[in-house]
Symmetry: C5
């Protein structure tokens, strides 16, 4: 799984019917230490109710089909599977959600 | 899923029979903020009727086999699964299809 | 799928028995516009009878197991699935096989 | 599999229920010769009881679902599957756990 | 499949039981023309009895589970599936095992 920040949304009206109702969020990958954006983006299917600017992790590849939202054979290669509460490195917090 | 612009087509007459009728589009990945091409290309199977110069997103890997077009065991690692209407970042549109 | 040129072959006499008879071609990825090699190579299983110097596309990952040649559970992560006739970008041909 | 060092943890209270009890470790990929960190991070599910600063290897992609911990359809694309005792290159140890 | 040289081994005593008896080799990817190492390493499961300094190719991703050694649901994303006899590019050998 990779850490990223929710920075926006992507909307499409021409897509397979089974994607209806799936929220497509624009994620920017971040450095887990500095939390800075890496200018590297991916569109991910939201499965946890992630909000704008939240730090999340997402799962890539065919494993992204193994959530309650993307299950049932959705063509997904990226799904957000966690909103991050905190990141700890070498005993120090680099991120705390409720302090940010 | 990754954002890209449809920039052309690839035609092959020597390919597995089950690929007959599948449209192979040449995609150039784009920056979701500036919309500029990244000079990084992929051939993707069209599943949504995407047209030249449209901005789309595509799904990679074995998940690309999970569309109505690529289902049934097609050897596909890339399928266009949406034509983008708009991209929104931090509350601002970086792309609006019907304004472009 | 990714565009590449067939530049050689790789021969192995120590490999799983089920790989016997599978042709392993050395591919060099190319820029789809200039057709120049990128000095980036992959070994791919031939499923279409590709010849030396031909431009082809190949499928990566577990999807490479979905051809008539690689089916049946072959350990393959790359299979050539088309010999390219032409590449068209923005209305112009960047490659025409029978003109080259 | 790729070599990495355990450098921290990631905690999330908003995640699919089936991820409860799974330890999410922050890994930094290392050079196998110098053992230096590459400033390239991944979140991986622990399946072996790895501890902080230990050198481990992890499996990526859908293969990460094939452990006793991540089995049963967990949305995982990275799982730690070994704590490294030693790394040997060209007859010399570049790493010995019980000497470090 | 990707070309690499066997440069060492990785030993772990803390790993899933089903990995017991699987040889984990340290591979360095090579340039197929110059045969020089790329300083890019991967741990791969040996399925062909590869020896130190031999040039091999390996299969990545979930396809690595399709060998007689890694079959049966092993958490593997890399398996050596051939020891290379020779590499030929544009009609010339860049590598011949029994001449090296």
């Amino acid at each position: 799984m990779i850490l990223a920040r929710v920075v926006g949304t992507v909307v499409s009206s021409h897509k397979p019917e089974k994607l209806n109702g799936i929220k497509l969020l624009l994620l920017e990958k971040i450095d887990p230490i500095t939390l800075k954006g890496k200018n590297d983006f991916v569109i991910s299917m939201d499965t946890v109710g992630a909000g704008i600017h939240e730090i999340v992790f997402y799962v890539s590849g065919s494993s992204a089909k193994y959530t309650s939202v993307t299950g049932g054979g959705l063509p997904s290669d990226s799904a957000i599977t966690g909103i991050v509460d905190f990141i700890e490195k070498d005993g120090l917090y680099t991120y705390e959600k409720y302090k940010a």
